[in-house]
Symmetry: C4
Subunit: 217 residues, 4 copies
């Protein structure tokens, strides 16, 4: 019998697996420049959008993984519906390599770049919405949470998670107008959430059943 | 020494790994539309069968993972034959990205779509048959199960698992006649099993050695 | 601090990861037939060598995983050299998708099939040799083993593991003469080791520190 | 609740996942030679740079994994910043399949090989720098370490880790002058660190809270 003591263990392992694979598959979208010739130096510079896409999407998925990790510190058990919500959440994350490649391929195309930036934004909105649904299901009436979490802390988490769909929705809405502004917002968000002291991870269960602030430096 | 307390642990980890990889590789079959041009907006809409295939196969594999997870809550140990049965089961799951790509590529081809839908169905029948064989081996004469499971509950699980090969067999048999009906059944099954209260997961070992109903809401 | 109680835990997790990925990547070598046309039915049959290669290599890697799993039940700790030997062992396994694709691509080529079957065999010999080196290092003077294993049991395991390099070496040597005989041996070995009662897995540490026979039916 | 006892557990699992996937994806860069023809024997020999790149990068990532494994034996907890540093570290490792393919594709190109060897070296420098940053953050003022580690041992580890950026920086700097010397250094380093008794892994927490030397034979 697999996980008696840690009921969420196998879900976390599976989620970590899917996220680790999706993040690592990003490199497959960075192509080796065509036929060998004397211009490799220029070619390697020319494909900078591929590197930029790799970095932005890698950091974005990395930040999502860290937040998923923090969320699950507050969750003590699973239900069938909760597993299924997580499967749909993972489905949106595992999709990200495709819009990443789309943006890298079409960023120099004056019309295509709007479409690509918009599709990237839609994917990010889907991820952020599913992340919220997973949390709402777990936290609604304390359904799956560990005991002793301050309701005010939960309200704070709710608000900070809600920023995700909103900011990505705004960035996606800008894409048809100005693709570069839209893409810059995606990049800025990945870097911003990487910084210490940002993001919705300020609460963890304390060993005495109360709430402790987590070190964020 | 790896897993003394949890004899099924390494099998579960390996199965989760293969399933997580198979589910994430699905995105590699969604291609970036050809040469940059002014039609990306139309191209991105035109390849909807790729998205649909991604969603249906992702949800299907996700549901299988959840059911595998539930099944292993009832299993307390492994044998060589059981490990090998699981390897063959995983072989059928890891095959699914290929028929998924086949359906997406040939759904607009009046003759090819019948073949593709049939191959997809055959793969699903293989997965469902192997899932049953894994369960039958484990549950036969209670060979590998935890103690204290109600025989009536096992009989109920047997019946519900048997639905898999039957419904997928029917959908596959319809493919040569009408590919769209066949494909719609695959999609409907993925969504149906995603819903709360469906599927063969209503039994788990209770901590006092008896059987408890699991929360399915 | 990661693994105090299970010193081999992280190595097993890493090995399971690499093996699970290598086994699942095999499907990427099964290609979707070219341009949509009215011949998909024939095309899907024509590429049977791809399916056969997928099945044989999947079962082969699966059997190796099961044996690795059994071996590690006897191992209680690691050293730097042992970790490195395992890395080289994993390097040979992760290589297998390539000769698998080579055989599938060249099986209809009267001259190429000899080369492909030989390369496949060389890869299998490398895997089998590394598997033996990993075991010899662990079992030599009982270096890394759990206590209380009967020396006669170790001698039995030594002999059975040695069969690997020998039979794959013979099959590889036959490849330049008759590729089909060589390939048939690879397939037969995968199926043979899948059967109950075969392979070097008849010993495990008993809970009282002695040796018990493992159920193999 | 996932990991109460082993606070670094989920980070190690995720890192192992990304590293295992990156190392296994290397095989996808070894291509099956073009159209079947009578020259497969020669073709298989001709693509030796692909095998060499596979071996060198596989061993290099393997050595990094082993060292990451050793490092985490000394770390007892995580912070948000530490998780993020690890995400960036993993981003550099997961990038390695691309320069590996670049070197294999351009090693016969008199001008391209300089660029490829330089890009490979830059990637290795990034990996080595991030490895050091991860360690410095963890070890700085003993921030995340287990108790009872001798400061002299930490100083020794600091020095040995610093070799990484320096030797890879030198090899990268040589690439524009002589690509083969540069590539030979990468290969030599992978093999060197594979040997027993090398590398920064001579310290582990002892069970009595002090420092013990680890067996390295």
């Amino acid at each position: 019998m697999g996980d008696v003591d840690s009921e969420t263990g196998r879900l976390e392992t599976f989620a970590d697996g899917v996220i680790a694979i999706a993040i690592t598959l990003l490199i497959l979208e960075v192509k080796v420049p065509g036929v060998p010739g004397k211009r490799l130096g220029a070619d390697v510079v020319h494909i900078w959008p591929s590197y930029a896409g790799y970095v932005v999407s890698f950091l974005t998925i990395g930040v999502i993984w860290v937040n998923h990790h923090h969320m699950f510190k507050l969750i003590r058990r699973t239900t069938h519906a909760f597993l299924m919500l997580n499967v749909v959440f993972l489905m949106t994350i595992a999709f990200l390599p495709w819009p990443t490649a789309l943006v890298a391929a079409y960023i120099r195309d004056p019309s295509g770049r709007h479409v690509a930036a918009f599709v990237y934004g839609l994917t990010m909105v889907s991820i952020a919405v599913m992340f919220n649904l997973v949390w709402w299901y777990a936290a609604g009436r304390g359904r799956l949470l560990v005991a002793g979490i301050d309701p005010a802390a939960i309200a704070r988490i709710n608000r900070s998670y809600l920023m995700g769909p909103i900011v990505y929705g705004i960035a996606a809405a800008i894409a048809p107008v100005n693709a570069f502004v839209s893409l810059s917002i995606y990049a800025a968000l990945a870097v911003y959430w990487l910084l210490p002291g940002t993001g919705p991870r300020a609460v963890g269960p304390s060993s005495d059943g109360g709430v402790r602030a987590e070190e964020t430096s």
